[in-house]
Amino acid sequence: MINKDLVIIGGGSAGLAAAIKARQEGIKDILIIEKDGNLGGILNQCIHNGFGLEIFNEELTGPEYAYRFKQIVKDKKIEYLLNTSILSLDKGFFIKYINESGVSICHAKCIIFAGGCYEKNAGAINLMGDRPSGIFTAGCAQKYINIKGYMPAKKVVILGSGDIGLITARRMTLEGANVLAVLEIMPYSNGLNRNIKQCLDDFNIPLYLSYTVKKVIGKSRLEKIIAGKVDENLNFIDGEEIEFDCDTLLLSVGLVPNISILNNLGIEVSSAKGPKVDEIMQTNVSGLFAAGNCVHVHDLVDFVTNEGYLAGFGAALYLKNQLKEDLNIDVVARNNVSYVVPNKIKYSSNKELEFKFRVKKPCKNVDIIIKNNDKIIKKVYKLALLPSQMENIKINTTNSPLKDGMITIDIETRA
């Protein structure tokens, strides 16, 4: 058995940032455990550009962004294991893992979980009809094309207008596939406007809003998709159907934090489906931190990196025994706010707080109101808020210290 001060599970952007920050804060004994054969996480397959605008003020591709952090990890000689799967993780922080050298156990004083998210697959949505091959997630297609180097499709329909679906639509078109349509069940798209423009409009790929798959047809390989229009209650409208002859249906129907390996630890889960965390990314289990898409799904990697830094900073304070809990505040998302991170505020020494959240439904002309026990501490006007865009609001508590109780986030529409 080996012993480590800090073990980071997952070497994507969150894990790499956490490792770098913890090292900067003086933690020497760090191990990153990564199940893939390469550090960088999902960025390795995101070969498009658009990463790093916030942090580097440059538009990098995913692999370029990842490379910068991988280099720092290597320069700082932070230890990492690749091709290593976690078998179990228990309350005493004994981590059992397997790789080429067999099964090993590592004991950690502190853990940062940065395992990312997974894509909802066909099992998670109700697809009616046959069960042929040719139905898989957009991220899976992205991996086939960008990493494995082969094209899994010729004529494609994409279900769901999230960014991964839009980016894969463009990528498949460039590689010679015919993308017939993107279907979106909601009356609005879940992707960024810029991706609708540069991934769909640029290639004349139609986006059908309020449409979803009504029937899947195909014996061995997918042959046809029947798409149906839905009403405001998401019920099919009779007679409003479109048929697409296609060999592939790509699913881009949502991402979910990947937290199953934390099941035995007794973590509390938030409405973002990740662990509840405090303002330094510590979960309710003392010494267990989390960051990145396993806490809540991000659209911008820059924010993931910053969250990783925060977790690395928090873990270093924990290991140095410098955390003094002197506040007890629950952070609560109300009305049109679907979730908020962090869920707890515990340390009055943190003067700079950042709240990250999403709305449930698009809204316009609204005030975001943050209150501490009914006292308004921040009010921000927004022209429009969309579920596809994470919002973040910073507050500084130097002049008005927070009180125990509640912080609430509300959205109010202006008259």
Partner: protein, 113 residues
């Protein structure tokens, strides 16, 4: 009056451009530059992958080092797919010089030993 979605950053501003190419709706200066360019000569950065000589299925990621005219994207894709890169590849190094005479190079965006 024309309307456009800005693609410079994830903010995705909704831009309005009048007949004298006056831009409004943009949050920053880059939106104005984009709008005028988009209406006069739309261009894009192209990112893709390239095969590596003598390395079966191994790929290296590449991009154009400058924007290329939008209508040339598929031609440039074809040309990249017809060529192979030589390993080792370093980020920023040139894979194909002056592709299709456009005055734009294809450069590596990932590393291969």
């Amino acid at each position: 009056m024309k309307e456009l979605t800005c693609i410079v950053c994830p903010r995705g501003c909704h831009l309005y451009i009048d007949d004298n190419l006056k831009v409004s709706g943009n949050f920053c200066k880059r939106g104005e530059t984009y709008a005028i360019e988009e209406l006069t000569h739309p261009s894009r950065i192209l990112t893709t992958t390239m095969r590596i000589e003598n390395r079966n299925s191994k790929l290296v990621c590449v991009k154009t080092n400058k924007k290329i005219p939008k209508e040339k994207m598929l031609d440039v894709m074809n040309e990249i797919n017809n060529q192979t890169a030589k390993a080792p590849c370093k980020i920023g190094d040139t894979a194909i010089e002056n592709i299709l005479g456009l005055g734009v190079d294809i450069i590596f965006t990932s590393e291969v030993d």
